[in-house]
Amino acid sequence: MELIDRYLHAVRRNLPAAKADDIVAELRDDLMSRVEDREERLGRALTKDETSALLKDFGHPLMVASRFRTHQYLIGPAVFPFYLSIMRIVLMTVVAIVFMVATMKAVFGDGDLVGTWAHAMSDIWLSVLVNAAIVTLVFAVMERMGFAAEHLVSWVPDDLPDVFDKQKGPWESAIEVALSIAFLLWWTGVIHFPNFTNTGTLRMEPSPIFAQLYWPILVLVAVRLVHNLIQWLRPRWKTLRGLLSAGTAVGGLVILALIYQAGQWVTVIPQGMAAGEAAKIQESLNLSLRIAIVVVAVVWTLQCLGELWRLVRSRGATGA
C-alpha cells in the first residue's frame, strides 16, 4: 500500500488544489478495487513488483494529473495558425533590424568590419529568443481569453487582398519595417552608432535645423512605419494606405523644403587639419546633401502622385 500512497501523493502534487482531495479519493478507490480484484483471482496478496506493474499500467502521475486540468496545451490548434503567422512576421523584422544595425555599425565602426559584424551577429540569437518568448507568452494569454473563437467569427472576407494586388515579398516588407524601426531607435537615442562624425582630424556637426525638426521627423517616420505595416499585413485597407502614403509624402516634402532652406546642413570643424581643407570638405559635403535632398524630393513627389493615381483608379473600379 505504501507504493500506492506514494503514487497518489505524486498525482496530488500536480492536481488543481481545490479538487485534489476528491480526485485522489476516487483514484484510490479505483486502484484498491483493482488490487482486490487481482488478489481475489490470484488467491494471495500482490507482490511489490506486481503492484508496481499495476501502477505503471495506470499511467505516469504527471499524465494522470494533467488530464484533470482544463487546459492541456499552451497554444491550441485554433490559435496556432495566427501564432505561426505573427511569429514569422516578428522574427523576420527582428532579424532584419539586427542585420541592419550590425551592418551600419560595421560600416561606420573603427575599421574592423568582420569583427564588429560578427560581434553584432552574436546578439541575433538572444534577440530572436526573447522575441519568440514574448510572442508565445502573448498568444498563450490570448488562448485563455478566447481570441481564436472571437477572431474566427468576426473576420471579414472583404478584407482579403485583391488577386491583382502587387504584394511585396515578406522579406522586402520586413526590411522596410525594420529600416523605419532602426531609424526611430537611432533618432530617439535608444541605439548608438560609433561616432563616425569625429575622425580625429575633423569633426562634423549637423545643422541646428535637424534639432528644430526633431518632432516632425519622428512623427513622419512613425507614420511611415504604420503605413508599411498596413501595406504588409492589411493590404486591402487601400484608402487608409493611400492617405498615409500621400500624407507622409506631402509631410516629407514640407520637411525637406524646410531642411533645404537651411542652406547648410553640415559644419566641418578642423581638429589638427588646415582650415582651408576643412572648408573644402564642408563645401563638397553640403553640395552632395543639396543634390540628395533634391533627388529625394523628386522621388517622393513621383511616389505621392503614383499612390494618389492608384487610389483614384481603385476607387473608380470599386464604384463601377
Binding site: L27, D30, F58, F68
Partner: protein
C-alpha cells in the same frame, strides 16, 4: 507495413474516442462507480484508458449530463455516477445522430460494393 498499421491504429483510436462519450452516457443509465463502469465498457468491447475515464466523468458532470454522490460500499467510500435528466435528453439526441451517421456511411459504402 508498420507505417500503415500505425496509421490505422491512430485512426481507430480517433474514431473510438469520439464514440466513448456516447458509450459512457449509455452505460450510466444505470448507477455505477468508476471501476465498475470501466469494467462494463470493457465487457462491451469498448475498453477505456482509466487516465481518460475519470476526467471525462468530471467533465460530463460539470456539463450537467451526469450527477454523482459519494456512498460507502464494500467498506470503502465510492463515487457513484448516474445520467441526469438533461443527460438522458442529450443521449437520445446523440444516439439519433449516431444512427444517422451510421446509416449514411453504410449507404455511401454500399455504392462502392
Amino acid at each position: 507495413m508498420p507505417v500503415e498499421e500505425d496509421l490505422f491504429e491512430k485512426m481507430r483510436i480517433e474514431l473510438r474516442r469520439g464514440s466513448l462519450v456516447l458509450a459512457v452516457l449509455g452505460a450510466l443509465r444505470e448507477e455505477r462507480y468508476g471501476y465498475t463502469l470501466r469494467q462494463s465498457l470493457e465487457d462491451a468491447g469498448l475498453p477505456i484508458d482509466e487516465g481518460a475515464l475519470y476526467p471525462l466523468l468530471r467533465r460530463l458532470e460539470t456539463q450537467g449530463l451526469l450527477t454523482s454522490e459519494w456512498r460507502e460500499e464494500a467498506r470503502r467510500n465510492k463515487r457513484f455516477y448516474r445520467l441526469s435528466p438533461e443527460g438522458e435528453e442529450t443521449l437520445a439526441q446523440l444516439l439519433a445522430e449516431w444512427n444517422s451517421i451510421s446509416e449514411s456511411i453504410v449507404r455511401l459504402n454500399e455504392g462502392t460494393k
